[in-house]
């Protein structure tokens, strides 16, 4: 009996560590949001940033300078929050994919979803053809193609029998196919079009607006609580299809639902940002190393790590060559590649 109490206390400590980690991440994110808002040509202090945010939230109650409030609310806050939302969504999508496919390298990028979005964007840029008009031509195409890739992977997996290996192989096949189409479009496109396509693949949060942030937030709000609600099923699937089935999880249906949600999350983010690599791959890994694999805490914590990483990377992208802004995709790759290599080496050692 006494032994059991000690055992359970150990688990309770683990749960506390997780809560603390999530609390720490939230605090760090709130601080980083304040710092990120100060970055730019108009000088603002962190205190002024917070005051301006609060003044916008509760008009008339706080005495913040109008100029600061305008700068924060019209120019900076949506970009900062977009980085948070995009980082969160990409990390959660990566976390789900790695879990259900039981593959540490699975992410929206290695599964061809990002490459399909690039093809969609390229078709819009080079051929001017697309499902939507105006500003939404590129966005609409990227979104549609990302979902098409997800459906293609699903279709192949369905035909061959849904298993994690099939999905990963199908994803890689899809990635090569869409990369080839993009290369072809780049080959036939003009110099300006080529530049636009290449710039799209860099990934950037420059074009964020409040409505775009609204769309992404809505999708996050609809999907992430559902994923956390089904955390036990994700835990079981991470142990293997057969184990999950014997624990009462409807394996095939769950795999499809989780894959589609992860794809939707990815599609709705990268259609606005272009290719932002490595967040979906790296954030879940970092989190898992610190707090382990229980999806009940892994999902929200990975999301917060992703948000911190992308906001951090965007802040670096904006300050390194200020007033020039580097595409954030380049910065995340600089952060991500060394980590990727570290993971690879670590796995070999293990």
């Amino acid at each position: 009996m006494e032994q059991n109490v000690i055992l359970r206390e150990g688990y309770t400590r683990l749960k506390k560590t997780r809560t603390l980690f999530i609390g720490g991440l939230l605090t760090a994110l709130i601080i980083l949001i304040g710092v990120a808002i100060t970055l730019g040509s108009a000088d603002l202090t962190v205190g002024e940033s917070y005051l301006a945010i609060l003044a916008g939230l509760f008009p008339g109650t706080l005495n913040a300078p109008d100029l600061a409030t305008t700068i924060v609310w019209d120019f900076r806050l949506h970009r900062v929050l977009f980085a948070v939302a995009a980082g969160l969504g990409l990390a959660v999508a990566g976390c789900v994919m790695q879990g259900i496919l039981r593959n540490p390298l699975a992410s929206p990028f290695t599964l061809g979803i990002a490459s399909a979005a690039t093809t969609g964007a390229s078709i819009a840029i080079v051929l001017g053809a697309g499902v939507a008009g105006g500003e939404y031509l590129v966005i609409g195409n990227a979104f549609l193609f990302a979902l098409l890739a997800a459906l293609a992977i699903y279709g192949m997996a369905r035909y061959r029998g849904i298993g994690s290996e099939t999905m990963v192989l199908a994803g890689i096949a899809v990635m090569y196919l869409f990369s080839a189409v993009t290369s072809l479009l780049q080959y036939v496109g003009s110099a300006e079009q080529l530049q636009a396509v290449v710039f799209w693949t860099f990934g950037s949060i420059d074009k964020s607006t409040w409505p775009k942030l609204g769309i992404v937030s809505l999708v996050l709000a609809c999907t992430i609580p559902y994923l956390i609600y089904r955390a036990w099923d994700l835990n079981a699937l991470a142990e293997g299809d057969e184990v999950a089935a014997s624990l009462g999880v409807p394996v095939e249906r769950s795999m499809i639902v989780f894959m589609l949600i992860a794809s939707l999350l990815t599609a709705v983010i990268i259609c606005f940002t272009g290719t932002i690599g490595f967040i979906g791959l790296v954030a879940p890994h970092i989190t898992r190393m610190v707090i382990g694999g229980d999806f009940r805490t892994l999902l929200p914590a990975s999301g917060l790590v992703g948000a911190l990483l992308l906001l951090g990377a965007d802040s670096i992208a904006r300050s390194v060559l200020a007033p020039q802004v580097l595409p954030v995709g380049i910065v995340t790759a600089f952060l991500g590649v060394p980590f990727f290599i570290y993971l690879f080496l670590n796995r070999r050692n293990a």
């Binding site: 032994q3 059991n4 109490v5 055992l7 359970r8 150990g10 688990y11 683990l14 039981r102 540490p104 609600y229 955390a231 036990w232 835990n235 079981a236 991470a238 142990e239 293997g240 299809d241 057969e242 184990v243 089935a245 014997s246 624990l247 009462g248 999880v249 409807p250 394996v251 898992r288 190393m289 382990g292 694999g293 229980d294 009940r296 293990a350």
Partner: protein, 262 residues
């Protein structure tokens, strides 16, 4: 009534028939060993019983209730599955991996009673000191005990195991089988184990079912099922079966070298 009954079960992958007319039953407290050469259909049979594969015909009954008519959660409360001791990529701790066995009973939160059950199972399988270690860091034998502990907290009447002793040395093989045989009688479990090692199966199983090319070749106590003729017909090998020990023991003979010669 038998805990688990399989009646005239057949299964085919597209046009290739893998199992034909399989019938057997397992009572509470009984350990049944599924043996047979590679590709004879052991794993397929386990997967059909577990509901991962849908049989072409025949029935699987759990406590007299047909598996097909039961809800997944109901099945998960009646039958547990222990996979082969292969690499575990997840970074979960031993405690959490075992806790997952409570999934058929859990909503989202974990109650102190669930934690208590996990602690008991860890204690029973001598995993106390490893509770907060990651499963991926454990040895094959320890990992296998974790999987069995998870099946135990699932509190089912039937436990299926797919080659639980592959990748284990003889000491750990015996350790795992000893635990299973003990649990079967203490907790009145019906245990079905797919095994490669015929001698191990003969020592620890109450009955053996020999599968050959998807059909039942023999079914009975180890003394009846493990025969020289069976080894010749099913495995295509010459062997001597020694019967002077507590369980029959087979010794393979090199082709062209009569028994007893080295």
């Amino acid at each position: 009534m038998a805990r688990l009954s399989v009646e005239d079960l057949s299964f085919a992958y597209r046009d290739r028939e893998v199992l034909r007319g399989i019938t057997f039953s397992v009572a509470a407290g009984e350990v049944l060993g599924l043996v047979g050469p590679n590709g004879c259909g052991k794993t397929t049979l386990i997967r059909c019983i577990d509901g991962m594969l849908t049989p072409r015909s025949g029935r699987v009954l759990l406590q007299g209730q047909e598996l097909r008519t039961m809800h997944r959660r109901e099945v998960a409360r009646a039958m547990a599955y222990v996979p082969q001791s292969v690499g575990n990529q997840t970074s979960s701790t031993v405690f959490e991996t075992v806790l997952m066995g409570r999934r058929p009973y859990l909503n989202w939160t974990v109650s102190p009673a669930d934690e208590e059950k996990v602690a008991e199972a860890l204690d029973l399988l001598d995993l106390r000191d490893l509770a907060l270690r990651k499963v991926s860091e454990l040895s094959g034998g320890e990992r296998q005990r974790v999987m069995i502990a998870r099946a135990l907290v699932q509190e089912t009447g039937v436990v299926l195991l797919d080659e639980p002793t592959s990748n284990l040395d003889v000491c750990h093989q015996m350790g795992v089988m000893e635990v299973l045989r003990g649990l079967a009688s203490e907790r009145d479990l019906a245990v079905v184990i797919a095994l490669h090692d015929l001698n191990l199966a003969a020592i620890y199983c109450h009955r053996l079912m020999v599968l050959s090319a998807g059909t039942v070749y023999g079914y009975g106590a180890p003394e009846e099922a493990l025969t020289e003729e069976m080894l010749r017909t099913v495995y295509g090998i010459q062997a001597v079966v020694k019967r002077d020990l507590s369980a029959p023991y087979m010794v393979p003979v090199r082709p062209g070298h009569p028994a007893g010669e080295v």
